[in-house]
Each structure stands twice: as structure tokens, then as C-alpha cells.
Amino acid sequence: MTLDDAPKMRWWNRLAHPGQFVSWTTPLILPLTILTAALMALGLWFAFFNSPADYQMGDTVRIMYVHVPSAWLSQFVYGAMTVSALGTLVWRHPLADVAMKAAAPLGAVYTAMALFTGSMWGRPTWGTFWEWDGRMTSTLIMLFIYLGIIALWRAFDDQLRAARVVAIFTLVGAVNVPIIKFSVDWWSTLHQPASVFRADGPTMPGSILTPLFIMFFAFTFLSITLQLVAMHTEVRRRRVATLERKAVRGESA
């Protein structure tokens, strides 16, 4: 096989080497950070200075601009973890478990933010800080799943062994999430209180959609940036563990 007939490497193969991955993606971090900051600033400006209050909900609709992106991100990150879990188990991609591990704390925080902002939104609009409606309840369960996954990672000494176990748990969780959502919705419609707690928000004229979309992208890019940095840290952390093990055994790096 000469250089000419050697098969062309796909990008995911090029990125499979952890060291390569870190060096190739490091230049992306600064631009991503700037983009995130710009989008956040823009989104905040629109949210507070350039969008109307809702005719039904008043100014509290502005909470939606942080609530909806948080909730979206909490689901999206779990989806990314599920794909990474498949990458670990099915395709054995070396960086899939790094991605999966880096994502978990981020997803947990987004879920917590979604719950908190939802609670802040609920209090003025529907009179209570917490309501056991379908969406809030499912999000709460999602938080428990995230925290369980983080605890599972920490319970293993050997993170490489942990990777596949966490992956299968993540997948089982992913399969169960629709079931949980369905059952929680069924349950909450049975126990429907007098007030209907709808986190959908108002019908959306363009002036409200704009800050929503901007914040949506701002949050997404924040997540991507943090995910990247966290992945670099995890790669380095594993390198540290290897070097420490070697040092203990008295070998040279």
C-alpha cells in the first residue's frame, strides 16, 4: 500500500487520538468564548431593552429567555451523552467516553437552572414555587439521573473501566426517559389541579422570538465551549494519572 492508495482518514478517526484532539481543537476555544459572550450580551440586551412585555404574563415572560434555553440544553446534553455512549460501546471511539464524562456535570447544572428558572417563573404567574406538573417533574427526574451518572463516574477508581459501565447506564436511562415522561404526563393529567401550569409560554410574536433565539444560541455555544475545555481537562487528567502511576513504579515518563 503506497501513500496514494492508503485510505483517507475520516475526521472522526483523525480526532480519535486524544493528544491530536486537544491540539487541534485548542485554537477553537478563544473564538468560541468570544462568540458566546457576544451572543449572551446581545441576548440580554434584547431580553431587557428591546422586547415587549407579554400581554398576559407581563414582564415575567423575560424569564422564559433563560428558562427555555436551559431546559433545551438539559435535554440536548443528555442526547449528546447518549450518542457518546453509543460511540463508546458500539464504535469504541477513544474520545467518546471523554465527551460523555465532560458533559455530565454541565447537563446537571443546566437542568438545575431550568428547574430554578421554572420555579421563579411559576411563583408570580401561577402562585407557587413548585408544581408537580408533567414538565417540571420530568426535569426533576432528569436531574436525579444526571447526578446518578456523576456519582457513578466518581465511584470507580479506574475511569476507563467506568466508561463502559456508565455508557450502558446512560443508554438505559435514555431508553427510559420517554417512558418516564409519558408516565409523568399521564400521572399529572390525573391529578390536574385547578390552575394549569403551562410552561409553554405565550404565543410568540417575532419580538419575543428574537431574544429567545439569541439566548438559545448563546447557551448552546456556551455549552460547546465548556464541553471542549472540559474534554481537554479530562484528557490531561488521564495523562496525569498515567504519569503518577509510572512515577510510583519508578519508571521514567
Binding site: 427526574i141 436525579f144 439521573i145 447526578l147 446518578g148 456519582a151 457513578l152 465511584a155 470507580f156 473501566r161 463502559r164 459501565v165 450502558i168 447506564f169 443508554l171 438505559v172 436511562g173 427510559n176 417512558i179 418516564i180 409519558f182 408516565s183 409523568v184 399521564w186 400521572w187 390525573l190 391529578h191
Partner: protein, 221 residues
């Protein structure tokens, strides 16, 4: 088949002769139900209303209690390593364990449920539905529980973590389990809940052994 039955017989013998753990589980179930009136007051109407939930919570907690003896003793004495090398597929071994787990943890609870129904002021109608609901739903709890035990078997003190991992997965079982006894929406809801519960159990029992087998293999490597 003989290997499968062999595992069933072995685990049954271990559970039944090994120091009265079944009795402990049973007592725990009854005690959780029995202390409820002390916590919420002896008002019959209130107790009757929350009884289905209490019974299911007690069942869930009791089954969590039985989790640690499912796989950890096998790992500690080396049996798990032998199982991994055996001809019988790991999934089949786990399936055998799920069955024994159900027989030794859930069945006693179902048998003890009349007593709970009595002290929690359930009427006869609700009581029968409770029995059926437990019968249909505890297999799912057993399956999810076994999966949780398998994921945490290789971890020191994993027994503390397993309930946390299992609880979110078991929420639908609790929802449909209670819904099958005392639905707010009327009798057809009970029917729907029963069917959903049965479906959940079937699915969980069918798939959990495979997921658990993978978790054990990968945790050990």
C-alpha cells in the same frame, strides 16, 4: 436449561437458608406500612386515600434492601468470575437471578399485603387491586433493581449508589402501580394503568438481563 435451573435452585437455597433475610425484608415492608399512621395520623379516610402509595413505597424500599445480596456475595466469593466463564450466557444467569429475586423479595411482600391493607384502612376492592398491581409491577422493580446491582457490583460500597441509580427508572412503575389501584380518573384509568404496568414489567424483565450482563462484564475488565 439445566444450568439455568441450577442457578435458580442455588440462589433459592441461599436465600431461604441464609440467615432469615427474607424475614427481615418482610418485616421491613410491614414496618414501613405500620409506622405511617404514626407519621400522618390515624384518620381512616386519609389512610385509605394514601394506602396504595404507602404500600408501593414500602414495596419499593423493601426491594431496594434486598439488592445488595443479589450480586455482591457472588462477586466476593469468586462465583461471578466463574459465571462469566460459564457456557450459560451471562444474560441467562442474570435472568435466573431476577426470577429468584422476585420470588424471595416480592412474593413475600405480596403475601404480606393483606396485613398492610388492614392497618391502612383499605377496602376489599382496593385490596384486590393492590395485590394484582403488586403482582404485575414488582417484576419491573426486580428487573431494574438487578440492573442497578449489576452496574454497581464492581464498586466498593456500590450498595449505597444502586438505589440512587434505580429510583428514577422505577418512577413509572410507581406511577402506574398506584394508578392501577386508585386512579383519580375512574375505573378505565385503572385498567389502562394495569396494562401499562404489565407492559413495563414485560419489557424490563426481557431487556434488563442483557443490559446487566454487559454492565457486569465491562465493570470487571
Amino acid at each position: 436449561m439445566s444450568g439455568f435451573l441450577g442457578i435458580v435452585r442455588r440462589d433459592l437455597r441461599l436465600a431461604l437458608t441464609g440467615g432469615g433475610e427474607m424475614m427481615t425484608l418482610l418485616l421491613f415492608f410491614v414496618i414501613v406500612g405500620a409506622i405511617t399512621p404514626f407519621a400522618v395520623g390515624p384518620d381512616q379516610a386519609l389512610l385509605a386515600r394514601i394506602a396504595p402509595g404507602i404500600v408501593w413505597i414500602a414495596a419499593f424500599l423493601a426491594m431496594l434492601l434486598g439488592l445488595d445480596r443479589l450480586l455482591r456475595p457472588d462477586r466476593e466469593d469468586g462465583t461471578l468470575a466463574l459465571y462469566r466463564l460459564a457456557d450459560l450466557p451471562m444474560a441467562a444467569i442474570i435472568a435466573a437471578k431476577v426470577i429468584v429475586y422476585w420470588l424471595t423479595s416480592a412474593l413475600p411482600l405480596i403475601v404480606a399485603s393483606p396485613f398492610l391493607a388492614l392497618i391502612l384502612a383499605m377496602d376489599a376492592e382496593a385490596f384486590w387491586r393492590t395485590m394484582v398491581s403488586l403482582l404485575l409491577g414488582t417484576p419491573a422493580l426486580a428487573a431494574f433493581g438487578t440492573f442497578g446491582a449489576a452496574v454497581t457490583v464492581a464498586i466498593r460500597r456500590g450498595g449505597l449508589l444502586a438505589p440512587i441509580l434505580i429510583a428514577p427508572l422505577c418512577v413509572p412503575v410507581l406511577i402506574f402501580g398506584v394508578g392501577a389501584i386508585a386512579p383519580m380518573g375512574g375505573p378505565d384509568q385503572a385498567q389502562a394503568a394495569m396494562l401499562l404496568l404489565a407492559a413495563l414489567s414485560l419489557m424490563a424483565v426481557a431487556l434488563a438481563p442483557f443490559a446487566a450482563a454487559l454492565a457486569i462484564d465491562w465493570g470487571e475488565e
